[in-house]
């Protein structure tokens, strides 16, 4: 399963999109963390995480997302999630992530909010 995790990064002038595919567990989370670290180091302050192809996450993966959120908050940036399953959205709400991260239905919605 984990070797089925995939990730692509699309960089724009002012923000970047990370699109994931597969189980966001410790390994998937780390891959997202590394991609985000690199982008933030490059000076990117706005991130869109598109989870359209990730229907399963676990709390280990999410705790790595919290690290990413922390780093984005530290640079006064913004982080937007989109295409979350109902359960993942509910989970983010339960955990309070939504106080620090924004949730949009579609990638277009997320990008529009960053424009």
């Amino acid at each position: 399963m984990s070797d089925l995790f995939n990730l692509t990064v699309e960089e724009h002038a002012d923000y970047a999109i990370i699109r994931t595919e597969g189980y966001v567990n410790n390994l998937g989370g780390e891959r997202i963390g590394e991609a985000a670290d690199q982008l933030i180091e490059q000076g990117v302050k706005k991130l869109v995480l598109n989870f359209e192809k990730s229907n399963v996450v676990n709390s280990i993966g999410i705790s790595i997302l919290i690290e990413v959120i922390e780093k984005v908050v530290d640079v006064d940036g913004r982080i937007c999630f989109c295409f979350l399953t109902k359960t993942i959205e509910k989970t983010f709400n339960i955990m309070g992530l939504t106080q620090y991260a924004e949730i949009y239905e579609t990638e277009a919605d997320a990008r529009a909010s960053l424009a």
Partner: protein, 151 residues
């Protein structure tokens, strides 16, 4: 033998047919195998997809806890799906070292953002995603019993 006695005897010997049991090895991603069984049982019970998804997420958390924390020697986690008319109960059991339930603190996002240790969400998520949760833990292992109502 009185009538009521008879029917009592019948009730006791009637085979328990409403359980699916799954025993998985502690191997990476085996929790996904378990969620697929959960999904199949819940579909059989005609749970709606959203509620099935919540059970799956709670199950993932319970299983990775057993995998990660139990240090069980037998390397196995036993999962029982108990099918009732209006609810699905899932029992997750390991024979590991157990833990002190009362010592577990409720995580808070604002603190976690600054903290070194960002983990510690699993049990809290299970409690929020399921309708009832009961945990029993001792030096002989941990049993987590969680139920989700059909509606």
């Amino acid at each position: 033998m009185s009538e009521s006695h008879l029917s009592e005897a019948k009730r006791v010997t009637r085979p328990v047919v409403n359980e699916v049991e799954l025993i998985i090895p502690m191997l990476p991603d085996m929790e996904i195998t378990a969620t697929q069984t959960a999904c199949s049982v819940a579909q059989y019970m005609k749970f709606d997809p959203d509620r099935i998804d919540e059970v799956k997420m709670a199950l993932v958390e319970a299983i990775i806890n057993a995998f990660e924390h139990s240090k069980s020697q037998d390397g196995k986690v036993r999962i029982k799906f108990v099918i009732a008319d209006d609810s699905l109960t899932v029992v997750i059991q390991d024979h590991g070292k157990g833990f002190e339930i009362n010592s577990i603190e409720k995580p808070d996002i604002t603190q976690k953002l600054k903290a070194e240790y960002k983990r510690g969400w699993g049990l809290m998520l299970i409690e929020n995603l399921m309708d009832t949760v009961y945990i029993e833990s001792s030096e002989h292992g941990t049993t987590l019993v969680m139920s989700k109502n059909r509606v």
